[in-house]
Point group: D4
Chain length 218, copies 8
């Protein structure tokens, strides 16, 4: 398994990550890590690997684009001294191009997305054991859908950067696409952006498998 004893892992992102996590720091008892995929990951790690004593911190904020992450990277990531950083960002960067097209600063274009992403990785990589890059995803199986097409561009950037910087890459879009071959999108998400509990669980399992979690251990 990727994580080691006493590691601190921070999950950074938007509303898919946030899900009501505690402010200012999303960790600890009760609803600390929110009700999304981070909770499932934390609970499974706690139950399967209690001896590792892993510290899971959720720093997602609903509505964020990568430009918002940039603004709070120092306080919300670097100052917290993580061992691992997981990043799941990009859907708002794209969505705003379609639902608020007249407010250009609410979205982030691909070039800027890549530039900021690069900056965040470079600021972070020396101080951590590893960075996990997760593709932003859309519960839309039809690849010619304009927002899906656009989001795939961002996913490709994430993939490229993961390769370039040697980060762990998790291609969640492909996992969801496979699932949606037999099951309709509404099974995972009411609005094709925010996963329901089934969607959150599939997302958590995908990440757990990517980090080498052993479900047969218990």
């Amino acid at each position: 398994m990727l994580f080691e004893k006493n590691d601190r892992i921070i999950f950074m992102g938007d509303s898919v990550t946030d899900c009501g996590r505690k402010r200012p720091v999303g960790e600890g008892l009760a609803e600390g890590v929110g009700a999304g995929y981070v909770r499932t990951i934390e609970s499974f790690l706690n139950v399967y690997y209690p001896e590792l004593n892993l510290r899971i911190t959720n720093m997602g904020i609903s509505g964020n684009t990568i430009a918002h992450l940039q603004d709070r990277w120092q306080t919300d990531i670097l100052d917290l001294n993580p061992d691992w950083v997981s990043i799941l960002i990009g859907v708002n960067d794209v969505w705003r191009q379609f639902d608020e097209p007249a407010i250009p600063e609410s979205a982030v274009q691909p070039e800027e997305f890549e530039a900021i992403y690069r900056e965040l990785i470079e600021k972070t990589q020396d101080g951590v054991k590893g960075i996990i890059l997760i593709t932003p995803h859309f519960y839309e199986r039809y690849k010619q859908d304009p927002m899906r097409t656009r989001l795939d561009e961002y996913g490709s950037i994430v993939k490229k950067l993961a390769k370039e910087y040697g980060c762990l890459f998790i291609d969640t879009q492909t996992v969801f696409d496979q699932f949606m071959e037999n099951h309709y999108a509404a099974y995972l998400s009411a609005d094709r952006v925010h996963p329901n509990y089934a969607g959150r669980t599939l997302l958590a399992i995908t990440i757990l498998k990517a980090i080498g979690f052993d479900f047969g251990r218990l």
Copy 2:
């Protein structure tokens, strides 16, 4: 214009119609008719045709399928003595087949949909000046999308019944499809089911045009 002096028009439906209308009867001052397409229709009728003194009543209830309409048709339509009844129903009948497939009674299958719809029209037609049938619609342009395909079946039933019973038929799905040829679905709806204010306005205009509203009159 279709409506005549002192006519009462009831708009029946689900959340697309409801939009926070007053209970038990959705009419009158303040937020009586809710914040959806019915408000726009009422406001435009009030401003363009004040001399007609039209009474607009919104009886939509969020989450309803046609089976719910059947349960409350006597109290919520017939007892109110409308001159015109507008019906916009069906999206929940279909959606529940995709997001709650394990709860079969939450959805309505096409045969039952048609049977109930037929019953409601027959119970109503003799007492009114006319019935307006509006297709349920989905802000999804891709016609091979399984839920879109399924919903189109229901739209076809509505069309068939309109023809059979001589009701005014309004094919909103086609209007939205044309609009979405150039503009993405998120411009009209965040979740492809509930219209935002642009979507509500396009819906209202479509209905107003279908009833012979004259925008050049003012």
Copy 3:
């Protein structure tokens, strides 16, 4: 039509404009532009002219007089770089003279009204494509009513300034007067100051027609 592709239009005013718009900047998804005439204008522009990609921003604040606008003109207008500014102000400047006569600083006298208005136009005109001046109005048909008489003085100032500075002038009071020839004020407003949904719609249509909106286009 007056507006061009990608233009940003700011609607400035008091409670007639505000109607629950988002703070600090009234724009964007959901209830961004509030529930008043600005919403109707935005929705119609979005539906009829989607290719223009117009950015509508509502900066009205309930209870404001022109003295309040002066205080926040830099942050709430100039810093936002509009292409067009629409101003609808003056009813509180007058109303406070009648309902709080013992608190003189709560109202604005005509000379001060004109001086501030002039200052705001001069600060703004060079940086924008145009300014739209709308008369403050009162849903009171009887012109000898003292508050109506007083408000007409302010309307005349607005008209004079529009002519002097070459602004687009919209005489809403005259439109409402014509409507009220056949329909009582309560049809448009419960308290003769705040329009209900019919009043808001008539106001929106009046503005849309003044800017060359083509209802026959759809």
Copy 4:
């Protein structure tokens, strides 16, 4: 003074009377009689005539027309065994004709108003020491205003009935008209229907003077 030791006086009416009175019976400590003219009357009677031990009960309900009073006359008046009944009703009977013209049952036409009023007086007069009839009023000085003209018809009915049945008649409209000769309506009411604290006080004083209250007594 009209009232005698241990008399119970019930004030019946609409929102002008109600003003947040206690349910189901508007009397007693704290906010029992509401924050309107009934409170001022009760407080002054308590302070000037404490030895009379008068029981003041407010049974007004916001939005009521005389048709609503008819529905609840048995429980809300007769069952409470008053010595005096004061009635102030009619403005909603008229207002709804102007702001909800398409909902005819929300208003009461003059013939029905007179018939119900007559019925209420006849049901009541034998069991009480006296009935006080107060004209519905409108804070609109201009008598040609259509709603004012209409309301005056109802005031005339009240006057006629008071004379016919020997009730104490209080012509509040005339008092307000005199006051408004020098002071604008907004000084007494924001929307010309609901009195502010100045309006409520003038209404209370008018009633107190009509019942022979002696301000020089203290």
Copy 5:
């Protein structure tokens, strides 16, 4: 009558004065002056002397002693430029000696009370037309009651200062004592400190009479 055209009168005090007045400045429409004796005074002045255009401001704050008044005298009195200042303070200065005896700084001893009161008068007298000093009072008729005895000391200081500085002096305690000769304290106040609406009205009338208000004028 004491007050002249356009005078501003500020009522300063504790919870007896406050009664929910608006913050930061207690004046204007709606609940501006609170629900206590200041509202009755303002309403009666508005109705009987509208031509005087008096500005009534309530600056009382619940729980205040004279030490609190001292802290906020500059901002809450002097900066507001009153023509008249009415002061009703002292009951908390005494009460805290009896209900929180272990927290000495919560109360104010007589010497300190006199010293601060003197300072406030001297800071104020040159800039105003007059100062009105009202005795703090206790709805306790039995003068040997220890808190009553103690409060009377403070009343005597107020009386002495009024004479010394030529202020208008209003001895409300004596008025309440006379009323309580025939009517029990609970008729005016539930807890002997906070007047109910009868108590507030008697207090307002006492002040109105002291300033030469003419109830026979209307």
Copy 6:
């Protein structure tokens, strides 16, 4: 000590007893018995005599007179099968004579008080081990105070009935009088009716001592 193993003791009364107890039955975990003297009694019994396993139930309701107790005696006392019943009632029966004199049915006169009290005792005595009668009390040391004088009449009735029926009699008024010889009423109660925490504690200790509680046991 009076109570025996597994006894159930019900404390009946008004707001002095109620203090936020649970509905419909005031017992059990958390705030079951409210925040008044019953909680202190229960806590001390639980800690000093845990082996007795006593069941303490608070059935007081704020604002009650003995007439209210009569209405609910069957359901709130007899149906609960108590071993002991403690009754502390009477202050509202008297208070309403002073603060709502015009509403006679809100109070209970002495003859009716005695008659109902007698009825309640007789209905109860055969089914229980004993009844505890507590004098209603007033935190007013001056015995000539009219309400105190009146309340003492009720206390005398309670004393007479306790003797007549052989009930345990607790004269709380005398205990409070002794305490108030050196300490002012406000030390025990803000409004002379509702005890603060010191007053509640003195009341609890008085009852505990009367039932033979041994403070030296722990």
Copy 7:
């Protein structure tokens, strides 16, 4: 895996099961099945076995003992026609013996527990594919703890009944005991009764494994 296509499984129990599930029936979108172990089970079944289309219903109610289940068994289990029923009950039956010992009817003694449990199984077994019996558990590793000892009696009854009636038996207490050999109880539960998210997850996994869930399938 135990469950077959289209099976309906009802989870019955107390607060450990409830966790905020929807009323009256705990199923469907959003928070239908609550935030406890039932959600984890439902999410995993949905994601791993979507083709089975399983219907998961949570009917737990906080605070329930088996006596409460008996009261609502007809409406809450039998009327819903489940294919499988899972029962997790008993901790309140025991806890009340320790925290409310004086209120005997709040708890259920072992004989009554067994008798009711037997009755519920017999009423149910013929109409379902199977019944799942889960031991009530206590996050207390020390078996001599009196409440743990007591609860183990109830667990033994459950085990005996499972064997006798051929139900699937899940011994969660043993699973928690093994986990607590290395990790302190607070890691799973703050109060040793209500599991936190780690405890809920361990419970869900235990049940999933017992029903033959294949984690290697995805």
Copy 8:
């Protein structure tokens, strides 16, 4: 009795002390000192020793460890000039080691606990009459329970420091252990950390006895 006339005693601690006390300073009327053991102590001192006029202040804050006390010692203790300081701290310092083991800074290790405790005593001892040290306690009778064992280490530190600095030492753990010999922990606390009203009362009595309170005095 330990305390003397006019002494101020501050109770410092965590949630066991806090119990809803007033902010920023927990003293005075109403809910000033919260609903925990401090209220019982204050009420008993007020009733038994009113002539001492003791000032009781509660400065506990829920969730605090000794590290939090250190941060606020200057403002919350020293600046308030107490005569006596009572400290009850440590359970969170230990609990976080068991329920949030992955967040090391949420707990305090024994060496740091002792060092900070020593610093706080040394900063305080010269300015006060005495310091009262209370052992943190756990409603867990089984001494081999790991958290109990750990907490006992902290209790030993408190005992050692009390001896070394001559503080009054109160060994509450031993008192609770004796009580729990015959009565189960749930009788005093639902979660073994937060005392219920019985637990709070036993705690208060223990402290009162330690300071020489004489229950036989009244």
